[in-house]
Symmetry: C2
């Protein structure tokens, strides 16, 4: 159903619509701080200065259906980073996340990237499964009861993260377009 939804580059005008999703698209289990934390992780600078390989998927009404915000590393040659991803809750499981990631891989590779990294929160089981299905490896760290390794205090005190890295050499992956694990995760926020 969403396979025809177009992907376009991020623009600064996407700032407000995407910030609205930070409250509307996540279920924070009653934690009023969680949406504020996501807001602080997405200052306007990302919409201004990393718009070229960041992307938005729009629905037939031209509203934001999904987005991926990432960049080429400035100081680590050949590396790219995915900072933040969102998929509309009604559209999860339709492969939008997988489409965005694959498009990002293509764009990065065309600029010389050979690996992509990103992080997620240990509680975001859906995101962890999604990244593994896409060929990401989990960095070695402290074993977590969920069956994956965690980097304690990775992004600051109390901000544990699961760290992913994926080579951009061709890797056999399942058909993520039809996977039920696609999207609905944020990459860096709890």
């Amino acid at each position: 159903m969403t396979s025809g939804y177009p992907i376009r580059p991020l623009e600064e005008d996407d700032f407000l619509p995407i910030h609205r999703t930070l409250t509307a698209w996540w279920d924070d289990w009653g934690d009023p701080q969680a949406a504020n934390q996501r807001m602080l992780l997405l200052p306007r600078l990302f919409f201004q200065h990393f718009a070229d390989i960041s992307m938005v998927v729009t629905d037939p009404r031209d509203e934001v259906a999904a987005y991926l915000i990432g960049f080429m590393s400035q100081s680590r040659a050949g590396q790219a980073y995915i900072h933040f991803v969102g998929v509309h809750p009604d559209l999860r499981g339709h492969g939008l996340g997988g489409r965005l990631y694959r498009r990002f891989f293509e764009l990065c590779a065309s600029r010389g990237a050979t690996r992509v990294s990103c992080v997620t929160s240990p509680g975001n089981i859906r995101s962890i499964g999604f990244h593994r299905a896409l060929g990401f490896e989990v960095a070695t760290g402290r074993p977590h009861s969920g069956g994956f390794d965690v980097q304690p205090d990775y992004d600051g005190k109390g901000l544990d993260r699961v760290c992913f890295v994926r080579s951009l050499e061709p890797i056999a992956t399942p058909d993520i377009e039809k996977s039920t694990s696609g999207g609905g995760h944020d990459v860096s926020a709890p």
Copy 2:
């Protein structure tokens, strides 16, 4: 006294020492959320992927005395951005902030930047005076009682910002090295 303190490029190992400053160097007037907000504005990605033109000043004991975290815009040619700056409270007014900014201007210009932008919070009067003294102009917005313009909700709901831009064409500026307004500000956090 601090003019001999060396400036070196930021490293990922600076993450923990700099995150400690986010609590120790700011007076938050009893607001327990303010340090957490700064922490979220400085995820590890900045220390990994924008380390080359970000800088640290160290004291004679090799401890962090000041730092500037910035980058070249990836999607806006000729633009650079200063994201976050800190100066040890005991060392403010000695020109460390000015030294870091001038060095950043040089590094950016050598990579083709012709303008640098940054933002600060409306309550950070010291930072606003510092940027004006360094030749930054304040973007037109909603007039504030402090005598400068503010962009409401610039970085999200409730996150008003004062926006600065400075050309990297030569501008006559006061001798910031001896100014009393240098440093002690964070550029993007309240």
